[in-house]
Symmetry: C2
Subunit: 155 residues, 2 copies
DNA sequence: TCAATAAAAATTGTGCACAATTTAATTTCG
DNA sequence: CGAAATTAAATTGTGCACAATTTTTATTGA
């Protein structure tokens, strides 16, 4: 049996490539985010809050979950850590006491300034053309869409 | 500031696409692997052992780590679980007592038969052409190579 | 020789992910 | 109205990842 024919061969698995590449990218982020004292998932949460807060929207935990594809089991403890650090406040809304909304503090907004240089720094020293990365991003979005069965072109 | 220009926009981040796609793929695997009572990382370990055991090689924990880019902090407890389930044996070698080698049991080899249908089943119901997936795999390998600074075309 | 160094795996501790369940609030509908 | 169903978040428990340290064994070199 030829290795390149074998569906169980590690090297032939897109999924392993995805798994390994994801961890390699996250590892590349780690020292940059350490300067902000954030983990990668925490950084993603902050990205959403910076983006939605900018237009004056109040982000709910469920909104975050929809954007990041994470549930409350992951988000609740993560958000508590960010709250303890003083980056955001969590508050139930009076119209519906089940809902928790998230509001950035001044410290949370201040951190955005520091974070602006992260994407630039990340690409620095990586020998990959931006166009190629954008093509990859679109391919990955297509995979995500196909797997989720969603119309995912705008969110 | 235009959203599509914003480097801090979630939608523009290749890295988030990678993160989300990876989790979506793993989620797609989960029910298939549940039939084998394996997690995805456990499945990857078994793939390596099936592949290397086939040629009669004794796989070391360090070999696994190199292939999967995982350290002993991750592998040791995972391998202990697989050993407890009777899928493999861990044994230190006499030439160098620091080294732990892994040998599949009969049950470990038997599981390979069940696993053969997994790649097929995974693609079933996913509206993605195989050629496109292979192109994606190669792109991801290029990213991995660029990030690790390795010659990664053969392993 | 034997102390210093290096190497392999294990251990410890933190923080995700995610399934499953629980709690509390809201909505639906008979 | 008021019980049943639904929803949002929190909780509980398991299994990765990974940094940092420790333990054990092997190798090096003065």
């Amino acid at each position: 049996m030829n290795k390149s024919d074998d569906a169980l061969s590690l090297d032939n698995q897109v999924c392993f490539a995805l798994y390994a590449a994801n961890r390699a990218v996250t590892a590349r982020y780690r020292p940059l985010l350490a300067d902000l004292d954030l983990t990668y998932p925490q950084y993603l949460v902050m990205l959403v809050l910076w983006e939605e807060g900018r237009v004056g929207a109040l982000t709910r935990v469920s909104d975050l979950g929809r954007r990041l594809r994470l549930d409350s089991g992951t988000l609740t403890p993560l958000l508590k850590r960010l709250e303890e650090r003083g980056l955001l406040n969590r508050q139930r809304i009076s119209q519906d006491e089940r809902v928790v909304t998230l509001a950035l503090t001044d410290a949370g907004w201040a951190l955005q300034k520091q974070a602006r240089s992260v994407p630039q720094k990340l690409l620095c020293g990586v020998a990959l053309q931006p166009e190629r990365l954008q093509a990859l991003r679109q391919e990955l979005r297509a995979v995500l869409t196909a797997l989720e069965g969603e119309a995912g072109s705008s969110d």
